[in-house]
């Protein structure tokens, strides 16, 4: 792994590769520090889909928050295209674990939030297109409280996708969907990310989902999260659950997780 020099100024307009160098993080609690990440280092190449697996509470969401710039690591550096990040940016969007749809806005207004936040004209065509993709076009006038958990999750995804980010940080984005909807959304997502050479970090609990979507799978220890294993996935496309290599990889990954557990 080559350590890139990370400078503080923004040289590339569109970041696509991510560098994570020796990142550590702790939270301050009333009575002391809680270390959540410990010396995590890895690189993400442009267009990669990396799945992050690890036990509950190990620090996966924290890592995504750090990369998004919502929080600053207490140790180490995070860069995009070799430039150290400095706060959140709409080029590098995070979809949080909880949906946080604004309850006072309709679904469509929620999806339009990115345009408004950046003072851009609202692209209604694009919004409708994305809503259609996640199967919520007929709900664009509904309020979040009228949606099921799975629908809210899809709306959150749409709210991010509509902004055409270069990097997408997804925190268990399909966790609340039923199996059929999940399959269809996973397919759509795969197509989308292939066509746009989107760089994606995907936190998931579902090993099969990771195997179906990711080009690399990183497995973490329990808190404080450290990398246990880093699987590069070279399955024949289209991937299929019953494929032999698939089943073998699942075994290995579950074992890595199991050791962890």
């Amino acid at each position: 792994m080559v350590t890139l020099p990370l400078s503080s100024q923004n040289t590339s307009p569109h970041g696509r590769s991510i560098q994570i160098r020796n990142v550590s993080h702790f939270y301050e609690h009333s009575s002391g520090h809680l270390t959540v990440l410990k010396n995590v280092s890895f690189d993400v190449a442009q267009g990669e889909i990396i799945a992050l697996l690890g036990p509950s509470g190990c620090g996966k969401s924290t890592l995504l928050r750090l990369i998004s710039g919502l929080e600053t690591p207490t140790g180490g550096k995070i860069g995009v295209d070799g430039v150290r990040i400095n706060g959140p940016s709409p080029d590098r969007l995070i979809v949080l674990q909880d949906s946080y749809l604004l309850p006072w806005r309709t679904i469509k207004q929620n999806v339009a939030l990115g345009f408004e936040a950046r003072n851009l004209p609202i692209d209604h065509g694009q919004i409708d297109h994305v809503l259609d993709m996640v199967g919520l076009l007929s709900f664009s006038g509904s309020y979040p409280r009228q949606l099921s958990g799975g629908m809210a999750q899809r709306a959150t995804l749409a709210r991010a996708l509509v902004n055409n980010p270069d990097i997408l940080l997804l925190d268990e984005p399909f966790g609340k969907l039923d199996s059929l909807t999940r399959m269809s959304i996973q397919n759509d997502f795969l197509k989308l990310s292939q066509s746009r050479t989107l760089t994606t970090l995907l936190v998931t609990h579902d090993v099969e989902e990771a195997l179906l979507l990711a080009s690399r799978i990183i497995v973490f220890t329990p808190r404080p999260a450290q990398i246990v294993d880093d699987f590069v996935i070279n399955l024949t496309e289209p991937r299929h659950r019953d494929n032999r290599d698939f089943v073998a990889l699942r075994h290995n990954i579950l074992e890595a997780l199991g050791h962890v557990f």
Partner: protein, 334 residues
């Protein structure tokens, strides 16, 4: 809940309110109001004034309306008839209450006058003193409405500032904590001292009695916003102003309306007291005037008028709230 309107099969609703018991209530209602009409008719000899005629005819009309109600149900389905049907039991009982009141005052004279006037005597006030009463309502509204609006804005902005900025919170929160609980009425001597006219002093009192609860509740609301919403807006590129305008304030609105509700209630109280001090018109002035002349029928008339007016103003506030917060459905009910 998921919207299902599209897939719904239209069907004939069986309307429960047109049930046997409800129809019986129309008969009971008819009887009670007819009795009111009858009783007030016989009181005409001693109570020969407009209020009595009005009571006779209106109760007669209403009793026959209730009588005809069951026959109207299939032909009409308009809002008034629905409303009456929904409250039919109340109307029936109300008829008996007024009948009873009529009996013990106008007819049997069991209670001493002028303290316990008859219904027609109170009604008569609305007819004969209409001009002064409406002048009073207008005059009170001229204090209340600007004061409430000004106070709402002031409270909202101060509250938003306190909830949003740590620095402003540091400096203003102690002020609010100590000055806020002081009832606006306690400011009266100072307000009369500072302001050139009673009108401006009264408006000032309404302003502060509204502004304090609104500020406290707005500040609570803004500071209780879930950080997740801010996170979402920040990643999407929102500026601090965007966060305040599009996340903090809308999210605090349910609390703001609780504050407005409190403030409106407090305004009524302070309005009445301020007007008692030296206004030339207004509901508080009228109350005081009626009390000063020992005009009890006028006193009760203005109390009823006040309760209807204030209830209506609160209803308007809640209408506005339901419109603004149509995305919320578990707030305070009115």
């Amino acid at each position: 809940m998921i919207t299902v309107a599209k897939e719904l099969a239209p069907h004939k609703k069986t309307i429960g309110i047109f049930s046997f018991f409800k129809e019986n209530y129309t008969i009971i209602g008819f009887s009670s109001w007819f009795l009111v009409s009858l009783c007030s008719f016989f009181s005409l000899k001693e109570h020969n004034y407009p209020g009595t005629y009005f009571l006779i005819w209106s109760s007669l009309f209403f009793s026959f309306f209730l009588f005809l109600l069951p026959f109207l149900k299939f032909t009409h389905n308009n809002r008034i008839i629905k409303f009456v049907f929904l409250h039919i039991r109340w109307f029936a009982v109300l008829g008996f209450i007024i009948f009873f009141w009529e009996m013990v005052t106008a007819y049997a004279k069991l209670l001493p006058l002028p303290f316990f006037p008859s219904p027609q005597a109170v009604l008569n006030i609305y007819l004969t003193d209409f001009f002064r009463l409406s002048e009073s309502v207008l005059s009170s509204l001229l204090i209340l409405v600007p004061g409430f609006l000004l106070g709402s804005f002031l409270g909202f902005f101060v509250g938003a500032a306190i909830g949003w900025s740590k620095e402003i919170h540091y400096w203003l929160h102690p002020v609010i904590r100590f000055a806020g609980p002081l009832p606006a009425i306690a400011w009266l001597p100072i307000a009369l001292f500072i302001f050139p006219t009673i009108y401006t002093a009264s408006v000032f009192l309404v302003v502060i009695s509204t502004a304090f609860p609104v500020a406290i509740l707005t500040a609570s609301g803004v500071s209780a916003v879930e950080t997740g919403y801010y996170d979402v807006a920040r990643t999407l590129g929102g500026s601090p102003y965007f966060l305040l305008r599009h996340i903090a304030l809308p999210s605090a609105l349910p609390q703001v309306f609780v504050g407005l509700f409190m403030g409106l209630g407090a305004s009524f109280a302070v309005l009445i007291v301020a007007e008692m001090v030296g206004a030339k018109a207004g509901l508080g002035w009228y109350m005081e005037w009626a009390q000063g002349w020992g005009a009890y029928a006028n006193l009760y008339a203005v109390l009823c008028l006040m309760s209807v007016l204030f209830s209506t103003l609160i209803s308007i506030l809640f209408k506005v709230r339901n419109h603004v917060l149509n995305w919320q459905n578990d707030g305070v009910k009115w």
